[in-house]
């Protein structure tokens, strides 16, 4: 049992201790040099300060767009991949998973170019239909849908792979019976596939929400504007650029609690005896 010591040591050092520090800091005003007890005022400011509240609203908007979008699209993508012949499926999975490898900081160079204010691909497409060019990463109205689009494209494939695994598990006997009864492809999808993958779809929805709530790199690389920033970006900004570590910790506490509750719900969907 003493062999457990190294793991517990690192776990306590980099997870437990930071969690305790985070909670403690959230009731203080701190900038690494001086620290002052301020009670709940960080938590109050989080919901009253215009910028901080804005980041919270933005995060909820991202989640409201991204979670349904990823869920719906990944089921569609998974059904398409599943309908391909067997020897096509593995390469197909590779292709749709590939964007996850490049997530974040590296690929944002390409996105920045695509959504550049003047010469980007997105504005060129708009000009084809005669619309005026748009400064994509400026106001809430354009930046939130744009970032949601980028995030969805990046992660939809990874989620679809989870769904294809669930589709594979659907019993062939049920499918054969349906085919013998002359059920159409649409009917099979609606009456057999969708009900049997429902738990997985719920799981994917939760995972997509958790991912959306923690969006950070897109903002950091592409859109550091008030109309686009998320809570996670705000934590970084408050903590490292303003040296408001108490405030940033209060926001972190909120995020950890919300995401933690969702993770808890996710675990209940899953069977843990397998690990």
């Amino acid at each position: 049992v003493s062999f457990l010591a190294p793991a517990v040591f690192f776990f306590v050092l980099m997870t437990i201790v930071p969690v305790v520090m985070m909670v403690w800091l959230s009731f203080h005003e701190s900038n690494l040099i001086t620290t002052r007890y301020v009670g709940l005022s960080n938590y109050v400011r989080m919901f009253t300060d215009k910028r901080l509240l804005g980041s919270l609203v933005n995060t909820l908007l991202y989640t409201a767009i991204i979670a349904p979008a990823i869920t719906a699209l990944c089921v569609g993508v998974a059904l398409v991949v599943h309908s391909l012949p067997k020897h096509w499926q593995q390469p197909a999975r590779l292709v749709i998973y590939a964007p996850m490898m490049t997530a974040g900081v590296v690929i944002s160079g390409a996105w920045r170019w695509i959504f550049s204010p003047r010469e980007g691909l997105a504005n060129w497409l708009l000009s084809l239909v005669g619309a005026q060019p748009v400064v994509w990463f400026s106001t809430r109205l354009t930046s939130i849908p744009t970032i949601s689009f980028i995030h969805t494209i990046t992660y939809v494939g990874g989620m679809a792979i989870i769904v294809t695994a669930a589709l594979k598990a659907v019993g062939t006997d049920v499918l054969d019976a349906a085919k013998i009864d002359g059920a159409s492809q649409g009917r099979i999808v609606r009456s057999i596939y969708l009900p049997s993958i429902a738990p997985t779809v719920a799981l994917v929805f939760l995972m997509a929400s958790m991912g959306a709530m923690q969006i950070f790199e897109w903002i950091y690389m592409l859109a550091q504007v008030d109309g686009a920033i998320t809570v996670m970006y705000s934590i970084y900004h408050e903590g490292f650029l303003y040296a408001h570590q108490g405030m940033a910790s209060a926001q972190s506490v909120m995020l950890v609690v919300v995401v933690g509750l969702m993770a808890f719900a996710q675990r209940r969907f899953q069977t843990w005896q397998s690990i």
Binding site: F3, P18, V80, L84, L94, G109, E119, I162, M232, G260
Partner: protein, 277 residues
């Protein structure tokens, strides 16, 4: 036939940003700024790559950053293998008080995102006097509940007769661990160190915060901060956009290579990780 077509559309959409970056890296600024956009570089140029090569030759910092990255990855992988293998061993073969609680804590720790604890972790690293050290850049990645579970699952599947037999032959705990079980876990060591290495190498924010001196930068910190500098001028039509895209492409190549070589494990990992937990 329709399904092939639909899949082709999906593939093009998800792979498009990667293609766009690679194709842009072979264009000069006029090509990048051209309207309508060029979907294929019409007169491809290697200027962006030449200019990066020149930087590598004249300025040692890129090579130094590769060395730093290797050191950080080696520290992290070494410590993680040691801590998580031993923990997986205990979880797989022993019963002890508090096992269920610890197990639950580890599971909950898996849901904590990469940056959620970034503020207290930073404060802690500063208090420990590890700011601006490669060890400080490595520490948050060392403990991985995922790695503990990988080792535990693998060790649990080993027939108990093997361990009992070794014990009967008079082998001590340490000997069983290093001579019997460690060689058997070789594939797990491979997969776990790969995941760990990828996470460490491809992170930007944490090392950028911790490693302030230029001579301690990792590759991502070095390249991305240059990319950001270059791209900041994108609206003014600075000649450096292509440089940023070329830098990104160079970072992409090792990732894609590792991905293709290990895709079988990766996809299996997601399948079991996603559905069974």
């Amino acid at each position: 036939v329709a399904k092939y077509l639909i899949f082709a559309v999906i593939a093009i959409v998800v792979l498009f940003p990667m293609y766009w970056m690679v194709s842009g890296s072979f264009m000069d600024t006029r090509g990048i700024m051209a309207m309508p956009p060029k979907f294929i570089p019409t007169d491809p140029t290697l200027d962006n790559y030449r200019s990066i090569l020149r930087t590598v030759r004249t300025d040692g910092s890129l090579i130094l950053s590769v060395v730093n990255t290797v050191i950080v990855a080696a520290i992290t992988i070494g410590l993680q293998m040691f801590a998580c293998f031993t923990a997986g061993y205990v979880f797989a073969l022993y019963e002890f008080r508090g096992k269920a609680l610890l197990f639950w804590l580890f599971i909950m720790a898996m849901s904590v995102g990469r940056y959620q604890l970034i503020i207290p972790q930073y404060v802690l690293i500063a208090k420990l006097g590890l700011s601006d050290t490669l060890l400080g850049a490595a520490l948050p990645f060392v403990f991985s509940p995922m790695a503990v579970f990988f080792f535990r699952n693998y060790l649990r599947a080993i027939p108990s007769g093997i361990v009992d037999g070794a014990r009967m032959d008079g082998a001590g705990e340490m000997r069983i661990l290093t001579r019997v079980l460690m060689p058997m876990c070789r594939p797990v060591f491979g997969v776990v160190s790969l995941f760990c290495g990828l996470a460490v190498v491809s992170d930007y924010i944490w090392p950028a915060l911790v490693l302030q001196s230029a001579n301690k930068h990792t590759v991502y910190v070095e390249v991305i901060s240059r990319m950001r500098d270059a791209q900041r001028f994108i609206t003014e039509g600075s000649p450096k956009i292509g440089l940023g895209l070329a830098g990104g492409t160079l970072l992409l190549i090792p990732m894609v290579a590792i991905f293709l070589l290990t895709s079988r494990y990766l996809i299996d990992g997601i399948n079991t990780g996603g559905v069974k937990g």
